[in-house]
């Protein structure tokens, strides 16, 4: 009898212990999980080539970045020099960002070669690297999220091909002989032109200076008066060339097509100086860049190259719902 009673007491004790365990253990795990969830925000540092609220391209990209950040609940830090050419400032920022030990860094490299060792440092620190907008001479990073410049160039080439014939003569103003964007776009233009690529008379370089583009255009036009088609491979090249044609009184006669979509370009398109422009989608680029960096942190594997897209826009298609969004950012109207 005494033995049985004690075994019954043991059993009661066991029940109490089990109950407490069954309650306490999952509760502790749950609390822990909650705290982990709260503290486990993915952190990404975005280092731009240029951080400028007044620039449509870069501010749209930031807008896209913020969309991804709120959608995936990511802690995103924005960095970037005021000037695109200030690679030294950017290199310092890369080092700062590495010291912050984020999960990933989304980098818009300032320079094709000078940025390389700094980008390598990011990878060496074990931080996931996603490149946006531009690439470098060495293949670095898990993924490149950028406008497919070959594809963008091809759109320009294909557009002009419709109006070209064997007597056409074409001039190209490019931003730089070494910039990957220029090289790719030119390649795309040639692809798009197909058999008419032989009609390209000259490729001139403006080194991202609209003034220089203007001068180069005038020089080319003097050199090859038969040129009836001009292609500007970036904003400065396109604007410089368009201004030159306008001043030469050739707008409307000479076909001109440009890359990018600054307000001035859009106005000149509306005005009829440009026949078409190819716009990039910086908002998409920012969104996809951060989303990809997030996926790289979460899953490890991501696509190597993601095209954020481009769109060829003519005078007729400026005010379609879709294109309005690309060409006229909201910030314009904010007071």
């Amino acid at each position: 009898m005494i033995h049985k009673k004690s075994s019954s007491q043991k059993f009661i004790l066991l029940i109490i212990v089990l109950t407490v365990l069954a309650a306490a253990v999952p509760y502790a795990i749950f609390r822990n999980y909650q705290e982990e969830q709260a503290g486990k925000k993915v952190s990404i540092v975005f280092i731009s080539k240029r951080l400028d609220e007044n620039n449509d391209f870069w501010s749209s990209m930031v807008e896209g970045i913020n969309m991804a950040a709120s959608e995936y609940d990511i802690d995103v830090q924005l960095m970037g020099p005021e000037s695109e050419a200030d690679y030294e400032a950017q290199n310092k920022m890369i080092e700062e960002a590495i010291a912050m030990k984020p999960d990933a860094i989304a980098l818009v490299p300032s320079d094709y070669s000078i940025t390389v060792p700094y980008a390598k440092k990011i990878e060496e620190a074990g931080i996931k690297l996603v490149l946006m907008d531009s690439v470098m001479e060495e293949e670095l990073g898990l993924c490149v999220v950028a406008t497919d410049n070959v594809e963008g160039g091809k759109k320009m080439g294909e557009y002009l091909k419709q109006y070209a014939d064997s007597s056409s003569a074409i001039g190209i103003i490019a931003q730089s002989p070494t910039a990957s964007t220029a090289i790719d776009r030119e390649e795309g233009v040639r692809k798009g032109l197909g058999e008419y690529q032989s009609r390209i008379m000259e490729v001139a370089y403006c080194y991202s200076d609209a003034e220089k583009a203007y001068e180069e255009t005038i020089k080319i036009m003097e050199k090859y008066p038969q040129i009836n088609m001009i292609i500007g491979l970036n904003e400065d090249s396109a604007i410089g060339a368009a201004r030159a044609l306008k001043d030469l009184g050739l707008s409307g006669q000479t076909w001109i097509i440009g890359f990018d979509s600054s307000m001035e370009q859009v106005q000149m398109l509306e005005e009829g100086v440009f026949n078409a422009i190819v716009v990039q989608k910086p908002l998409n680029m920012g969104y996809l860049g951060i989303k990809t960096a997030y996926q790289a942190v979460m899953n490890g594997a991501v696509e190597q190259s993601i095209d954020s897209g481009s769109e060829l826009i003519t005078q007729e298609t400026i005010y379609t719902k879709e294109n309005e969004k690309l060409l006229f950012p909201f910030q314009q109207t904010q007071e």
Partner: protein, 583 residues
Amino acid sequence: MGERKNSLRGRMILSFLLIVAIAVVSFMIISINRSSRAIKETSVDYTLQLIQMMNENIEFYIENMENISQIVISNSDVRNYLLAEENAKEYLTKVEEQFITLKETRKDIYNIGVLGVNGNYLINDRTVAVNNNIKWEEMEWYSKTVEEQETIYSSHVQNIVSKEYPWVVTLSKTITNPLNNETIGIFFVDLNYWAISNLAEEMKLGQKGYVYIVDAAGEIVYHPKQQLIYSGLWEEEIIPAEHQDQDTAAWETSTKLYTAMKLEVTGWRVIGVTDLDEMLSSTNEIIMMYYLLAVILIGVAMLLAVLLTDKITLPLRRLQESMQEVESGNFKVDVIEGASRDEIGDLIGTFRMMIQEIENLIRRNYKEQEEKRKSELNALQAQINPHFLYNTLDSIIWMAEDGNTYDVVLMTSSLSKLLRKSISNQNELVTVSEELEYTRSYLTIQKMRYKDKLKYSINIEPAVADMEIIKLIVQPLVENAIYHGIKYKGGIGTIIIEAGYKEKGLIIRVIDDGYGMTEEQLEHIFDQKETDERNNGVGVRNVHQRIQLYYGEAYGLRIISKIGQGTIASIYLPVGSGGCNDT
């Protein structure tokens, strides 16, 4: 517990637990379901309230535009200006004044304008440069106004002013000539789109929630991810067909909860989107709470089950223990008194009665056995051999005839002792010395009869003298010694009787140096067939039987004999009087 897999108690606890667990778990599921539904309902209500507020704000803007349009359209100067071919400037100044006043009062108004069919127009004020690169007649909002007389054209880029490309919502109306009802122009007012997008952006529906607006045609007026949607990077079913006609509606996908409300004035719809995961994150806590509650309830239930079943099965287990005791032979178990007055109580009562009955039966059986044994013992008790009695009496007669009075007295008194002992039935047991005294009487008589042919001696170890043994076991052996041994021996025979300890037992030996017995005789001495009334073979066997009957098979008689040398008869008895059948 646990001593048996299928114990009644175990099964009771298990079924008890099962019932409680099912009850608790279903209670939990229902509650969780209810609370998550309640959370959703609350969220829908809350979102509707927010949307309602937002709608009021939007309607305020729209009404304001409407008011402006009323003011402008009802202004005769405007009509006059649009109709005027001359004096236009005069009217223009007046209209301009009105426009400037209207624009000043409302910061959210971007443009106010009238566009005359005849080419007269005014946008904001005279300093504004019109965008020459476009023709407003070709713009969609314009053609739509001409078609519908009145329209609200949702978010678009207003390009009418040179170098300005604001996002606006345009309210426009045709202006007619009251005389002939002909359209003479169009009035429009542009509301800064930012005013509306800001309302939507500021509306907080949790971290991941957002608000979007669609117009009556289902086109997006505002969506935070409008461009992503156009690019195919973001998918959203803007408004499902089945909810298109409802004033308020709520629907959900696997991840989001949508709450929609229609704006009466514009036919627009404001849709609030709440992230389900985020919203239901609080349900996780509720689930956790319910889980804890369930665990505690089940724990308490288990305790109760153990305690209750302990109480219920306690009498049963006691009964079981009692039964085990009974099984092992103890009938004096204490079957619990005061058992409950339930089925188990009845069972215990019956069991108790059964035990008593069994015990009575056993007792009766034992008594009967005892009586049987006693009667057997009595039956076996040796009587004085009648031949011996007869011979003795003969001897007495001869001695009396010879006048040998002393011998007659001696023999008669010995015989008298002998007879008295033999017939006294009072006690089964006598002391060793009493028994041997009796034997001595017998030997006295025999010695007198055999004259000098018999010699004897009796040795008792003092320690055993007072030990009790069953009576009349030595004399038959002496008788046997005389008739089988001494009688056939030529010359004097000697009988020695010894009583003493040996190997923790009591041993009484009758030793004679008579003729002895053959092996055959020895073998048959305990055999019933070889009875020889005269020679008293019965006596020896009888002694052996009685010893065994009384003390058990471990004890008894052993006889060693050799022809020409003599016989030793040994009685082995336990020390003390305690026989195995002692009552």
